[in-house]
């Protein structure tokens, strides 16, 4: 299933490999499931509670705020974000006014669910040992022979706690099962097993030892914790969430509104279904693994293998056309097939082999976990990134280390690791495409190819893991591999966490295309003179570069973790090159190749930096008098050169190295980067002339080093794949030419043994085709993404261009437009209009009172009323002005007119109040009539648009 890179040179060990040589990774996989269930609960409970308890009117009004702000739910998330940033204060005020908080209820429900899970966990064993189900062992042990035998087996197993044995007297089966809580384990013996205890004593011992092995491995602890949490999650969380979701999707509100939000709600439900599938299949898959572990332990404790040999074999198991069906059906079994269990007793290969399904499910589960972790505050983004990356890389990495170890010890084919990354990445892509994360309220994201960034990174890191594992396992063959594995997994896990951090912060918007403007990005640096008036190609490149991994240089972004991707291979190379080490496996030239390649790359990089900075000096970037362009160029151009040098070094070293080409290539690229950063620092400092040297170092520290590490390393790693492919292609072509030439000269040589390269070329065609397709997909992605980068987008206003362009949003459909106007009116528009009317009526009444005043006292009192009315008018106008603009040009024109007329009315009102004469009275009357006309026109227009009901 997962292809190997090359065969290990060691002969096969005679004894089967001890399955306990490395951790099984089961705990991590259970931890992923538990984290997924907890995160999903934290995310789903508030949504359900909100839908059940929130006032529908207020909820509708809160949703209306977004529509009123001109956000079109049917457009991409980026466009919605841009729209929401146009009038953030008004939008926030609107939503805050209608917000409903049910945090306390949600927390209470969450606590109830947790308590229910604990209760179920405690009750499950009681339910399974109820009076009508089982009887104590002593009741059926009428001969008194079972108890001593079981005591002996418990002693053999060396358990801390003696389990309670019970018997199901009605069961004809000849098995047993372990369950209970960690401190009170129970083993239930089937009636058939008790009856045959004397006649088939070997079988009895094997079955009981198998169950004791489950207790020894602490399988019941986490299995039943997961079972309890899963059942409570299904009943208390998932079912209500699904019901509420279906209500929102199919019943609540008008069909029009439901249709508008249908994509998001459908995605959310599909993701819920995938969560169930992922948890269920993963749990069964883990359980199947645990059975083989228990079998092996039972045999180690002295159980005869005969019961496994005697087990019935199903006919037609996996033959012919039934094969796919049998394999699918096997996914739902709690136990592996008898044939696999038998085979595993002599060779536990199944516990070391890489399999696609667990990796796919891991990627999928991790992606769903990321979606549900959205509930965490953004300050904890780094924590969620580390958690998810630790689980993904931990699970995939442990599987890979085990596979590499098995291949080395058993003399098999060492897995290359990239296919493991591909399966993990495929799981992530499935989660992203089916869930709402990438597409939001669209059926598919506009640029799904951006997801290949994550796939490529996982392929890179898994290949790195496999090669690193091979290096350490060869070099430290006699030592326990556990500590080396821990370090070997922490590094790619942190590296993936840094990529995830960037992806969540910046990268994921790329699924909607490139949303940034060159001018906006350049302006965001805050340097004087930026953006330049004439943004040439250099500036476009600089702008794009500024948003790739490496932009986020805070310690929390974990950019520094990428440096470990060089350091560890260098350490491995050093250890491997020490005299007396065995089994360097063709990697003997690697240290030399890495060092020489890195230093050569560093020299080339330094030369390139010198040339580039000299050209920058000549380009007169400071002609305008602002230092910004030159400073930014000094920041970015060295980054470009260093990254290019790293990529070139990695590609060349990977092409020329046989063993561990990626880790060696990255080590060389790392040396190149270090030399390059030092050279950049020196050159920029020399360039700065009399300026303080701290500036130069600051540039190198804040820009050159993070970019060289965080951007240069993954780029170098990916380009190393290209170099490796080119190297293999070149060697294959050379071999073909040599074969043709030899055949012409001397004819075929049957005794000649094909070289490893030739053996590689002889692999099945389909496998090569799949690899070719994978490479093609990556190349296509690179091309598509490059084409999708729209650097020519129009810059924003010259004063402070927006980072994300204020592009003209597509015209909303008639339905959405009507909904937006209705929302504008109901969320506060009508209320503002009524307030203006009320203020105007009050003002009119005050003016009338002035006209009707018969004495000075009455006149003065009436004038006070006018002054007060002016203040009320002013407040109403300001409040209306602070409200959201009308979500259409025509509507906004009318609304602006209303506001202008009322401002004029306020002004004339104040004039009248301070200078009551004929001229001010006439002006005020005219302004008042204009204001009334504008409000009537606005109301008429809204009614015509369908936003309000005509009076």
């Amino acid at each position: 299933m997962v292809a190997g890179a090359r065969a290990a040179e060691q002969p096969a060990d005679v004894a089967p490999l001890d399955e306990r040589v490395l951790v099984a990774g089961t705990t991590l996989r259970f931890a992923l499931l538990l984290a997924l269930l907890v995160a999903a609960s934290v995310s789903m409970i508030p949504r359900t509670v909100w839908h059940l308890f929130a006032s529908p009117e207020k909820a509708d009004l809160e949703a209306a705020c977004f529509l009123a702000a001109g956000i079109d739910p049917s457009v991409s998330a980026n466009a919605s974000f841009v729209q929401s940033q146009r009038q953030p204060a008004a939008l926030e005020e609107c939503t805050a006014r209608f917000a409903q908080d049910f945090t306390t209820v949600s927390v209470s429900v969450g606590l109830v669910a947790l308590a229910a899970a604990c209760t179920v966990h405690r009750l499950l064993p009681l339910w399974r040992t109820r009076r009508t189900k089982v009887v104590p062992l002593d009741v059926v042990d009428v001969h008194g022979r079972l108890r001593p035998l079981l005591d002996e087996l418990v002693t053999v197993a060396g358990l801390d706690r003696t389990p309670r044995f019970v018997v199901d007297p009605a069961s004809q089966a000849t098995g047993a099962v372990a369950f209970g809580r960690p401190r009170r384990p129970v083993i239930r013996l089937d009636g058939g097993l008790v009856v045959t205890a004397d006649s088939e004593q070997e079988r009895f011992r094997a079955v009981v030892l198998h169950e004791l092995a489950h207790l020894h491995h602490k399988d019941i602890d986490i299995t039943y914790a997961t079972v309890a949490l899963w059942r409570v999650f299904l009943v208390l969380v998932l079912l209500p969430w699904t019901a509420v979701g279906l209500d929102v999707l199919l019943l609540r509100g008008s069909a029009e509104v439901r249709g508008v939000y249908a994509p998001f709600n459908t995605h959310a439900h599909v993701l819920g279904g995938l969560l169930v599938l992922a948890v269920y299949l993963s749990r069964l898959e883990i359980l199947r693994h645990r059975e083989i572990y228990a079998d092996l332990m039972a045999v180690r404790w002295g159980a005869s293998a005969q019961p496994w040999q005697d087990s019935p074999v199903r006919r037609h198991a996996g033959e012919g056309w039934r094969r796919p069906f049998v394999r699918i059906a096997a996914l739902w079994h709690t136990h592996p097939s008898p044939a696999l269990r038998r085979a595993s007793l002599t060779d536990p290969k199944a516990l070391f082999t890489l399999r696609a399904l667990p990796l796919l499910l891991t990627g999928l589960a991790a992606d769903i976990l990321v979606w549900h972790l959205n509930a965490l505050p953004s300050e904890f983004l780094w924590l969620s990134a580390v958690l998810v990356a630790g689980l993904v890389i931990g699970i995939g990495g442990v599987a890979l280390w085990r596979a590499v170890l098995y291949a080395l010890r058993a003399g098999g084919t060492v897995p290359s690791g990239w296919s493991a990354g591909l399966w993990l990445g495929l799981g992530v892509v499935v989660g992203e495409l089916t869930g709402p994360r990438a597409a939001m309220n669209q059926w598919l994201p506009t640029h799904p190819e951006a997801l290949l960034i994550l796939v490529a990174v996982l392929v890179l890191l898994m290949t790195w893991t496999a090669q690193n594992a091979e290096g350490w396992l060869r070099a430290r063959r006699e030592r326990p591999p556990g500590p080396a594995m821990l370090a070997g997994l922490a590094v790619p896990a942190l590296a993936y966490a840094s990529v995830l951090y960037w992806w969540r912060s910046v990268g994921e918007v790329l699924t909607d295309g490139w949303p940034f403007t060159t001018a906006g990005v350049l302006a965001s640096y805050g340097l004087p003179g930026l953006p330049p008036s004439d943004a040439g190609p250099l500036w476009h490149v600089v702008a794009v570069l500024g948003l790739l991994p490496g932009t986020l240089t805070g310690a929390g972004s974990l950019w520094w973790s990428q440096v470990l991707l060089w350091v560890l291979p260098v350490l491995a190379l050093v250890v491997a090159s020490r005299p007396g080490r065995e089994g360097t496996g063709g990697g003997g030239r690697s240290p030399v190749a890495g060092l020489v390649g890195g230093l050569t790359g560093g020299i080339v990089c330094s030369a390139g930096l010198a040339v580039a900075l000299a050209r920058l000096r000549d380009a007169e970037l400071e002609a305008s008098g602002a230092v910004g362009p030159l400073r930014l160029a000094q920041m970015m151009v060295p980054v470009l050169v260093i990254c290019a040098a790293m990529a070139l070094t990695a590609a060349v070293v990977a092409a020329l190295t046989d063993s561990r080409w990626l880790t060696t290539g990255l080590a060389a690229a790392g040396i190149t980067a270090l030399v390059g950063v030092v050279a950049a620092h020196t050159l920029v400092r020399a360039d700065a002339g009399s300026g303080p040297s701290a500036v130069a170092w600051s540039l190198s520290r804040e820009a050159h080093l993070p970019y060289a590490v965080a951007l240069g390393t993954p780029v170098a790693g990916l380009v190393a794949f290209v170099g490796r492919g080119a190297g293999l292609a070149g060697r294959g072509a050379a071999l073909l030419v040599r074969q043709v030439t030899t055949r012409r000269r001397a004819g075929p040589h049957p005794a000649a043994r094909p070289s490893p390269v030739a053996q590689r070329l002889l692999r099945p065609k389909w496998r090569r085709a799949v690899r070719l397709a994978a490479v093609g997909a990556v190349v296509t992605w690179v091309g598509a993404t490059a084409l999708a980068v729209d650097v020519s987008a129009s810059p924003g206003p010259a004063s402070l261009p927006a980072l994300v362009p204020d592009r003209a949003a597509p015209e909303p459909s008639a339905t959405v437009s009507r909904l937006q106007h209705q929302a504008w009116a109901t969320a506060g528009g009508l209320e503002r209009i009524e307030a203006l009317r009320t203020a105007e009526l009050r003002y009119s009444a005050a003016v009338t009172a002035v006209g009707e005043a018969t004495d000075d006292t009455g006149f003065l009192q009436a004038m006070d009323r006018v002054t007060s009315a002016c203040g009320a008018m002013d407040r109403a106008t300001r409040r209306a002005d602070a409200y959201l603009s009308v979500p259409s040009t025509a509507g906004q024109r009318m609304w602006t007119r209303v506001l202008t007329r009322h401002r004029e009315m306020t002004d004339t009102c104040r004039d009248l109040a301070t200078r009551p004469d004929r001229a001010t009275a006439e002006a005020a009357d005219t302004a008042r009539r204009n204001a009334i006309d504008s409000v009537d026109a606005m109301s008429y227009w809204l009614a015509e648009k369908g936003a309000i009901r005509p009076k």
């Binding site: 007297p169 009605a170 004809q172 089966a173 000849t174 372990a178 058939g192 009856v195 045959t196 006649s199």
Partner: protein
């Protein structure tokens, strides 16, 4: 007829003691269950693959469930209709939910030759369904019939059952461990329970609703 009634569990105990004494531990375990529970549990499907179970899915060919289920099934056919039985079982279930008191044990009335033949066929069918060899099935069926016939010749044992008509089910297992060197008769005399006629059982022979087909004969 009252004097010749016998409890199903007594028949099962005697037959198992005779033909499969190694299964007496199971009977000891089942003694704590009332008849309805025992039949329900014995007739349930086999859990082949539970999480953390052994999972190789082998099933022992046991005599106890064959005898108990077959005799119970035949008795149900003889003493009542299917609908009556379902109602009775539902009553048992409800009683268990609300009162948890043990229902009275199922008793077999005195049987005619045809009814004995029905019991025999029922045993043979059940044995075939449960994977027993035909020869073994025949031995079991004969033992059951013999036990029922012999019971009719021992009317004096009926009086003891009258003393405790609604008491809890009597333990099936012998009070002392059975010696493994072969079957032996039960320590206590067989105690037929109260009259079957109290439950409305028919006086005369009755044709079964769905005659069972003897298997393996």
């Amino acid at each position: 007829m009252d004097a010749k009634a016998v409890r199903v569990r007594d028949v099962v105990r005697d037959v198992v003691t005779e033909v499969a004494p190694e299964e007496l531990p199971l009977l000891a375990g089942l003694a704590g269950f009332d008849d309805a529970t025992a039949v329900q549990r014995l007739g349930g499907g086999v859990r082949r693959r539970e999480p953390l179970g052994f999972g190789l899915g082998e099933v022992a060919a046991l005599v106890t469930p064959v005898v108990w289920l077959a005799v119970d099934q035949a008795t149900q056919q003889i003493v009542g209709t299917w609908v009556q039985n379902r109602v009775a079982r539902t009553g048992v279930a409800l009683r268990r939910v609300f009162r948890r008191s043990a229902p009275p044990p199922v008793v077999i009335p005195a049987l005619t030759r045809e009814q004995l033949a029905l019991v025999r066929r029922s045993v043979l069918t059940m044995a075939a369904q449960r994977g027993l060899e035909p020869e073994r099935a025949a031995v079991i069926a004969d033992a059951v019939v013999t036990r029922l016939v012999l019971d009719e010749t021992e009317p004096e044992t009926a009086a003891a059952a009258e003393a405790e008509p609604d008491g809890p089910p009597e333990p099936l297992a012998p009070p002392t461990p059975v010696r493994p060197n072969g079957p032996e008769p039960p320590d206590a005399p067989v105690q037929p329970n109260e009259a079957a006629g109290r439950d409305g059982g028919p006086e005369g022979p009755e044709q079964p609703d769905e005659p069972t087909r003897p298997a393996g004969t």
